[in-house]
């Protein structure tokens, strides 16, 4: 049972590192937003699942489930708000250099 929890924790760290690589490497607001929201929510949910498996059934588990539900509701909403703010402000999407002039 412990190895499943450690597997989930390792998967969370893996996804967090790849989200950070996406944050550093991508060229635009919208692509960075995609990498951030997807990898962030996946890493958080898998770390919480690993902790729930590690802890067993206790009051701590119920609170972790509450925080997980809160993250599942609010993380897509905040990503959507950031993207909508960038779109309303008039930031143009990134294109390759060849198709830029046409």
């Amino acid at each position: 049972m412990k190895f499943i929890a450690y597997f989930f924790l390792g998967m969370g760290v893996f996804f967090a590192s790849f989200g950070n690589i996406g944050i550093l490497r991508f060229p635009d607001v919208y692509t960075r937003l995609q990498a951030s929201s997807k990898c962030g929510i996946t890493s958080i949910i898998s770390i919480f699942i690993g902790l729930i498996i590690l802890e067993g059934l206790s009051p701590t588990t119920i609170r972790i489930i509450i925080i997980t539900i809160f993250f599942l509701i609010t993380s897509p909403v905040s990503s959507h708000i950031i993207g909508r703010s960038a779109y309303k402000e008039g930031i143009l999407p990134w294109r390759k250099e060849k198709t830029k002039g046409k």
Binding site: V29, S36, G40, I44, I47, I67, S85
Partner: protein
């Protein structure tokens, strides 16, 4: 100093949040900084929940929940503050 797996995960997540602090400092637009802040809030909440399980202190879970709520509300407030301006006119 004894290292178990949860402490190693805490150290790796701290390094990850330091890396995403780079985008907050250097981002060209303010939305880039907001993306970095969103990621930092998520990772610090995960660090708090892991330390609550590791050190057997259930009070850290309440701190994590309040911190997540504050991050969400602050992102909404900052985007409402940035609403009125235009870049390309």
């Amino acid at each position: 100093m004894d290292l178990n797996i949860l402490k190693i995960v805490i150290i790796l997540l701290s390094i990850n949040s330091l890396i995403s602090l780079y985008r907050v400092i250097k981002g060209p637009t303010s939305q880039d900084r907001l993306i970095g802040l969103n990621l930092i809030v998520a990772q610090v909440t995960a660090i708090m929940v892991i330390s609550a399980v590791n050190f057997h202190r259930p009070i850290y879970l309440d701190v994590a929940l309040v911190y997540a709520i504050l991050g969400y509300i602050s992102i909404i407030a900052i985007t409402k503050y940035l609403k009125g301006r235009k870049l390309h006119e």
